[in-house]
Symmetry: C2
Subunit: 463 residues, 2 copies
């Protein structure tokens, strides 16, 4: 509460005049808004405002700007690199009550939503239309947050990431102007691509209040498959050959032997504890059968074992529930632990090599480090299980992550496939793209936010 007292009281009074009870300076609310799912220490904001409309966001931005108060857009707090931590104090703008689906255009395969709508909420809302929104990061994040971090997930190999699936954005700029970045047409060559500039901008260039997203028809037939392999290399070969044949695999996930062991324990399953691919095929009845057969053939040539098919919805659900539980399952490998997640993504031709070199380090690490990820995109995660109170655990995790990023960059990869930069990857970004690119990004930040009030200290590395 001490910090709140130092906070600009005239700004607070103006915010309260605007939003009444929807302004909070309580310790509990502030604490909740000062942490995400990363390993960074809590950094609560001075106040939290709960907004309901774009106009309210604009008014809050105008108040904060006049009083030189930092602003942090907040969805549900599931970011993984400290994105929403109020490291310079200020106001957390909680958009979770902006949760209206504004329009669903069934014929156009798109929907317009307020930024606080979550992905599961949207999919529930459109269930009756036969359409769905495919992007699925682990958490049930808001679409505003997913846009701001350029999120993806298990479906990206077929449906792309937020980059490909946002059609247009409504954004409040730092100076209070409200812009719509694009029309609702499926494609456009009309001027600079402001939509894509805000996708992945992590709240540092403006505050996203509405998102227009693409939807896809639920396919006639979906089938899942699980296949174990003698090595990660054999699994990766299978994926490369599948993609090269143009088989439109919808999901393609790799889980290491350690992860499979944790899954077996957590979900009482009996999978072979060996590197395993979880696959899904979408299409017509005939094409799904054909796809699965072709992949089974490829897997077999690469030494694949126990190829299991699931076409019944309940069996399919069981497989993907297991996959989605992987994160929670592996946490139990070291009770009381917290996870440091890595997120490199490399050209798929280098994936086996990158994973193999990393596996050597995992074998020597002092803690369990399960590995799984979106192998169809070349993106995989280590979940480094640390005792949050142990300095040596944290140091080991950070050093391991640093070496992993270095390895991925040497293979033309990126330090982050889908988690974003936030606080944790700024030096990696510099190493990845070089000082000139960082300077260009800093200039763009300066252009959109000359007073450095929009989520300060995130994404752009210090000079």
């Amino acid at each position: 509460m001490n910090k709140a007292r130092e906070f600009d009281q005239s700004a607070l009074a103006e915010l309260k005049a605007l939003l009444g009870e929807r302004v909070s300076t309580s310790a509990a609310v502030r604490e909740h808004h000062g942490k995400d799912e990363s390993y960074f220490p809590y950094a609560p904001p001075d106040a939290v405002v709960f907004v309901k409309t774009t106009e309210e966001v604009r008014d809050v931005v105008n108040i904060c700007r006049r009083h030189h108060v930092p602003m942090i857009a907040f969805g549900v707090g599931t970011s993984l690199e400290g994105h929403i931590l109020a490291i310079a104090g200020g106001v957390s703008i909680d958009l979770s009550q902006m949760n209206q689906v504004l329009a669903v255009h069934e014929e156009d395969l798109d929907a317009v939503v307020q930024a606080g709508v979550t992905r599961k909420q949207l999919n529930e809302y459109i269930k009756h239309t036969g359409l769905f929104f495919p992007i699925d990061p682990g958490a049930d994040a808001t679409l505003g947050g997913m846009t701001a971090t350029r999120a993806s997930g298990t479906n990206a190999v077929r449906y792309g990431t937020m980059r490909e699936n946002v059609l247009s954005l409504k954004v409040v700029l730092a100076d209070g102007r409200v812009i719509q970045t694009s029309r609702r047409a499926k494609k456009s060559a009309a001027g600079y691509d402001l939509t894509r500039l805000f996708v992945g901008s992590e709240g540092t260039l403006g505050i996203i209040t509405e998102v227009t997203v693409r939807l896809y028809p639920v396919q006639d037939a979906m089938s899942a498959a699980v296949c174990a392999f003698p090595s990660i290399d054999a699994a990766t070969r299978t994926v490369i050959q599948t993609l090269q044949m143009g088989i439109p695999v919808a999901r393609c996930e790799l889980l290491c032997a350690t992860t499979m062991g944790a899954l077996n324990k957590h979900n009482k399953l009996g999978y072979r504890e060996s590197p395993t691919l979880f696959l899904e095929f979408h299409g017509t009845e005939a094409s799904v059968v054909e796809q699965a057969k072709m992949v089974q053939e490829i897997a077999k040539e690469n030494g694949g074992l126990d190829f299991q098919w699931a076409t019944r919805p309940e069996d399919r659900t069981k497989i993907w529930e297991a996959r989605h539980n992987a994160y929670f399952a592996v946490l139990q490998l070291k009770p009381g632990s917290r996870a440091v997640s890595t997120d490199v993504c490399v050209p798929i031709s280098r994936l086996a090599e990158c994973v193999a070199e990393t596996a050597k380090e995992i074998a020597q690490a002092s803690m369990p480090i399960p590995l799984f990820g979106h192998v169809g995109d070349g993106n995989f995660h280590l979940v480094i299980l640390v005792d949050p109170k142990s300095e040596s655990d944290m140091d080991e995790a950070k050093a391991l992550n640093a070496r992993l990023v270095k390895r991925a960059l040497a293979m033309e990869g990126t330090c982050t496939g889908e988690h974003g930069i936030g606080m944790g990857k700024q030096e990696s970004l510099r190493a990845e793209l070089g000082e000139d690119v960082i300077d260009v990004m800093r200039d763009i930040k300066q252009l959109f936010d000359p007073d450095n009030l929009l989520n300060p200290g995130k994404l752009v590395p210090p000079q």
Copy 2:
């Protein structure tokens, strides 16, 4: 030649010292670089330089900047909105000799090319790999030019536009810095999306010298189909229902009755002269059959006539040759005419209405106006056949285009689906996105090009 004499002779001397014979001020070369495929009057540059490397582009940019000389990146001159016209004089930087394919990564499904490589050249080069690059604007444009205008074509309904298919760019900035916008990984959440900022920037923010593009496996089976309809509305319904069912149609083109008549005449064909869909299906043998059957069923319900299939490569080629000849075929409807092309794109639910209202105007126009386009994206073109010497023809064409843009904007559409803004659509851009967005674009232009030397007078509307 008069203009060349006024041109900064010390800049010219420096350029000649750098490039020798690869600097030209001859009238013929300048004239060739002062026109594209638009209806705008010629605007030749003062000089043309033929560059071979990124370093040469950088050196040219440095010379031009020091002497305050405008620079216009030039590929093969097939832009449609006056993009490459030297309306403020200066140097045309011809990148057509930067035509090396630098790398093909078969396993990663990507290629790195110099900006002057054309789409057909790339596809010829990678033929043996079983991969292809799908984006196909009418012309055999360079990949640098296609990137700069955010081009698309008949395959966009399935494979996306240049926006979705550029992985990374090498760009020379106005101040001579050379940046690589991204790594080669398939996805990344690493910082602001500079790649997408340059895709569609029309040479106004930097000069693209290398492009990394996605490739796709040539599918096992491809089949084409042609189906006539009693009305454009019936054809459009068919497309909407096809997309809603999630049938992954690879191409989906609409041609009006007038266009079909011109095609019959030009190619000695016997198609029904009625609104017609040209379709293509890619996939496995079974899925292609299945897709075509499903679409045939949908077409039948909408009154489709003469559904013709083509699975043999030679029959398929014949169909797409006819489609690609449409532009030349319709030009012969009015001998000696020149084309004013329109390019609106609307949400597909509004397409039938937009086309129907436009058809009324076409019926009352004084010249033939065939209509065809990428109906799966909601994007269609009118080819307004004008006598280039007739002022009243030009006035009529411009007025018709202006009304069409207004109509599309009222339907949440865009003034340009794939041709870009250039000189011709600046006021439409303002109407489409509003003054605040234009101001943001102007600020971005100012940030990247403070001296306004990169393709001045294009894309960003005047204040």
